[in-house]
């Protein structure tokens, strides 16, 4: 701090008049560097503020000691500042560093074409956003169409699917995700049961904990938990994998070899998750119910037998099956969004990061949306 101050006080600003003219001269002397240039600038701006509009000003820097590009920046910035204040700006003598720096940077003027993003009105920006969103939607619809046709085609040509790859992906997205899915579902089961235990006890309805946890887990929580976890675990991984391949031209290389990236990269992933997510859901259901049972025994004085008997009465095959059916579609959504975001990746490592984030956000959004649609659908079909 002290050094900083020392340097800025060592810089001397003297104001005087150029002889024979109405021009004000600001004479700058002393060492200027990146460390003190901003202080010098604010001092100079203070001086400039005191001058009337239209005044001619000259900056004289012959006595400045500088070894970096700070003074060159200072000069160009001040020229801009003073014109904004309505002053007429002139440059006097400069020290050699400033002169060289300015000459070097003036030699390469900023690119002529202005960035159209810069000066957009909010309405234009909003319009652009809508246009972008519709274009995005269009690409998404095309992607969905191609995936569906690819899926249907693969049903009639099962020999063409890379089953070895599918198997490896099932291992990665299913088996390896099992511990975390089970643990999380167990905890959610515990928490759900625990927070409703107090209410149930007040009504003496202890036994209904089995209905609550059973129906809640199988119909909603099981598939949702498994799907959201898989979005974070595998959907994002797909986006990153395919995105990285995209930016290093590997996807183009596939196309050039006459191999459809969709069949080669996307299809196995969707198939794998489509198969694993319903199974993961089944495990999530079981773990969640186990969590509920622990609370039932520990704090609602039920026996395991009575809990299981009540559970048997409470949930039917459809409850479990509808959850797995949902999970099947969630699986397509999770893998589909991950791959879609990966395939549309552009622009280096940053682009991969963006796709990965987008895959998780879009994935979870679509899962919740689809879940709502399923609830309504099941209700009106009279099966909910």
């Amino acid at each position: 701090m002290s050094k900083d101050q020392d340097q800025s006080t060592a810089v001397n600003v003297s104001v005087g008049q150029v002889e024979g003219t109405g021009r004000i001269r600001l004479q700058l002397t002393g060492p200027i560097s990146f460390a003190n240039v901003d202080k010098v600038r604010s001092r100079l701006i203070e001086e400039l503020r005191t001058l009337p509009s239209g005044q001619e000003v000259e900056l004289e820097m012959g006595g400045v000691l500088c070894r970096d590009s700070s003074t060159a920046g200072l000069v160009t910035r001040l020229e801009h500042d003073s014109t904004e204040m309505g002053l007429e700006w002139h440059l006097g003598e400069l020290d050699s560093t400033t002169r060289t720096m300015l000459a070097l940077s003036k030699g390469h003027p900023a690119h002529g074409e202005a960035d159209p993003q810069q000066d957009r009105s909010p309405i234009e920006a909003f319009g652009d956003m809508i246009l972008e969103a519709t274009a995005d939607l269009r690409v998404l619809i095309i992607f969905i169409g191609r995936v569906v046709s690819s899926l249907l085609w693969s049903l009639t040509h099962p020999g063409k699917i890379r089953w070895r790859e599918v198997a490896a992906l099932i291992q990665r997205t299913g088996a390896e995700a099992l511990p975390i899915v089970a643990l999380l579902s167990l905890l959610v089961g515990l928490v759900t049961a625990f927070s409703s235990a107090i209410q149930l006890r007040q009504f003496g309805a202890n036994i209904f904990i089995a209905d609550l946890v059973g129906i809640g887990m199988t119909r909603e929580m099981g598939p949702l938990l498994a799907a959201i976890l898989l979005t974070g675990r595998s959907g994002s991984a797909f986006a990153a994998e395919i995105g990285t391949m995209k930016i290093s031209d590997e996807v183009d290389a596939l196309t050039v070899m006459g191999i459809q990236p969709l069949d080669y990269l996307v299809l196995p992933r969707i198939l794998a998750v489509m198969l694993t997510l319903p199974l993961l859901t089944l495990f999530a259901d079981a773990a969640g119910i186990l969590g509920g049972m622990i609370i039932a025994i520990a704090s609602l004085d039920l026996t395991p037998l009575s809990f299981l008997q009540q559970l048997q009465k409470a949930i039917g095959v459809w409850d479990v099956f509808s959850g797995m059916l949902k999970a099947f579609f969630f699986g397509i959504l999770v893998a589909g969004t991950g791959c879609f975001r990966g395939m549309e990746t552009m622009g280096g490592a940053l682009g991969v990061g963006r796709s990965t984030t987008a895959s998780v956000v879009t994935g979870i959004f679509l899962i919740v949306l689809a879940d709502s649609i399923f609830v309504i659908l099941f209700h009106y079909l009279g099966v909910g």
């Binding site: 290093s248 031209d249 290389a253 196309t255 050039v256 070899m257 191999i259 459809q260």
Partner: protein, 255 residues
């Protein structure tokens, strides 16, 4: 130069990204067996032109014919797939699949596009790797290879199916001068021995002078072709932009 069969014909090609024009009304021909260089400063659309020529992107306007078939009109996947069988591409970074060994990379087009037996594929992979001086390196992973090796590996994969046309995107980018010369010599040797038509996109002056038989120069202001001819003709050109490029001068005449 005697008139040879025209392998690629590009007519009135216009490319736009959104409202930004990249290329405007470009027309040129590539003749059979020649090494044709597309050159120009960074950002003038060289790589974009290449990606259009292999049908990865659709242009806003114009036609591109490879061996008489219009790949813009071919549109659907089967049409382009047929044409792509006769084409190999070496991408800027080599684009080897990072999850596979070098051998598997080179074997991939053979596995996917031919009915060759495993033994034959192995043999051909060994041959192709020998052509690019990578014999015996089948089991290396791409991340264990240097930049120059990755490019040669990419080249081995590109020539796996013995294409009649080879595209190179900035073959010498990111390589030291010696490795870059080696790659140029490899390109020349393959062209001579196999008679492959080659389209090379580059801005490396030495490389252009060494390998090019004919070249076009693109410009990032007019979005068109500023010059066309043999390297020597371009070298002798008195057009300011061409002169600046070939004599490493600045356009405004300073320095």
């Amino acid at each position: 130069m005697s008139e040879r069969k025209r392998v690629i014909e590009v007519r009135d090609l216009t490319v736009r990204f959104g409202e930004k024009t990249i290329l405007e009304n470009i027309s040129f021909d590539v003749q059979e067996g020649e090494i044709f260089v597309v050159l120009g400063p960074s950002g003038c659309g060289k790589t974009t032109l290449l990606k259009h020529m292999i049908g990865l992107h659709k242009p806003a306007n114009g036609s591109i014919r490879i061996n008489g078939t219009d790949i813009v009109q071919a549109g659907d996947e089967e049409g382009t797939e047929e044409i792509l069988r006769s084409v190999g591409v070496l991408f800027q970074s080599g684009a080897l699949f990072k999850s596979m060994t070098l051998g598997e990379n080179v074997a991939m087009p053979l596995r996917e596009k031919t009915t060759l037996s495993g033994d034959m594929i192995e043999e051909i992979v060994r041959m192709k790797l020998a052509m690019v001086n990578l014999e015996g390196r089948e089991n290396l992973m791409p991340n264990e290879m240097s930049g120059g090796m990755q490019k040669r590996g990419g080249l081995a994969r590109a020539i796996a199916l013995d294409p009649a046309i080879l595209f190179f995107d900035e073959p010498s980018a990111g390589l030291d001068p010696i490795t870059s010369v080696e790659l140029d010599e490899l390109i020349l040797a393959l062209n001579k021995q196999l008679g492959t038509t080659m389209i090379v996109v580059t801005h490396e002056l030495q490389s252009i002078m060494k390998i090019a038989q004919r070249a076009i120069m693109l410009d990032n202001e007019t979005h068109g072709i500023v010059a066309e001819g043999t390297p020597d003709e371009l070298m002798a050109s008195d057009q300011p932009k061409v002169r600046a490029f070939f004599h490493r001068e600045r356009l405004d005449g300073e320095s």
